[in-house]
Assembly symmetry: C2
């Protein structure tokens, strides 16, 4: 259902934005359509003009969250042409995405994937695609570095892409659990140093 007027589009955007924040904090199952409406100051009619169901809303929220993530992390990476700097910018961009509480509940994708992996096959696949894109992005940085001659040719790019995404998302989880985002400062420094052993 595409909104027909600018006002309808703004309403839809408000629903999606507020739902992304609520899902990230309270989880998908623990958030009701009424919670979203209350936070967006809208009525039930306002919801069903835009979405058929909470699941339909969740699909739009995943698209929205991916755009937010790209704006916050991926665009930050693209500001330098040197893959070594891009890799450092990735770690710093993800740390800022965490510290700035871009999503109030931490990483939207980590939270939703952890909750839904066993419970909603369609949404699980959409979230898995987001992680696959993230791994793909890291892989492109590493392969670019090889092509530039900045990283050694024997660097196992696919395996390291898994490791980098695991490290960043795992640190988000621990930082949230401990309420201590300085885990990112200490962890990032050690991992960036380790990865620099692949620099030529």
């Amino acid at each position: 259902m595409e909104p027909k007027t600018p006002k309808a589009r703004r309403t839809r955007e408000r629903l999606v934005h507020e739902a992304a924040q609520l899902f990230s904090v309270k989880g998908y199952f623990h958030t009701t359509v009424d919670d979203v409406l209350e936070r967006a100051s809208l009525t039930k009619g306002g919801f069903y003009a835009h979405f058929e169901s909470k699941e339909d809303l969740a699909r739009a929220v995943i698209d929205h969250a991916l755009l937010v993530w790209i704006r916050k992390v991926a665009d930050h990476v693209a500001q330098d042409g040197d893959a070594r700097q891009q890799l450092r910018a990735l770690f710093e961009g993800y740390r800022r995405y965490a510290v700035d509480r871009t999503f109030e509940g931490g990483c939207f994708f980590v939270n939703l994937a952890t909750e839904l992996d066993d419970q909603n096959e369609e949404l699980r696949k959409l979230l898995d695609e987001a992680f696959a894109q993230f791994r793909g992005m890291v892989g492109v940085i590493l392969d670019t570095g090889k092509a530039q001659g900045h990283f050694r040719a024997d660097m196992p790019t696919e395996a390291l892409a898994i490791a980098v995404v695991s490290y960043l998302t795992g640190t988000m989880m621990q930082a949230k659990a401990s309420k201590d985002f300085s885990l990112f400062d200490r962890g990032n420094a050690a991992v960036v140093d380790l990865l620099s052993t692949f620099e030529t």
Copy 2:
């Protein structure tokens, strides 16, 4: 409330075991006391003879999950005295903990921490303590390796302990989301190789 008879103790253990599995799959909020009772084939009276509330049950479940984790991962590590082998055993032990579906929903601690960090301060602290213990265990392995002369003295043990726990828990999350546990094979090999650069 400590059980007074062997039968009462077995009942209590059954409730805790089934709740750990349910919480890991469905989450804490999405699991009801009735769900636990149904899975354990018990009546409501049988529950309240042992626990005051679902939150009270959750505290016992976290203790239980920690014992399960130690039996599966930590004990595996302690079988070798050489810290270099202990570190490798840690990666392999965690991979098996994941692949064997020790908890049906993946890592009990990752799932519960991700869900509860913003929503239940007391349980968040208990889960954070579990991660702090995990980081502490990795730190002890690395420091032991230094004392044995197997790891370089300039190895940043605390920061690497954060990184290793982040990597393992993040891989669990991605493997569950993608339903592909071979992520552990590829990721572990790359990370173990990277860490071996600290061997003397």
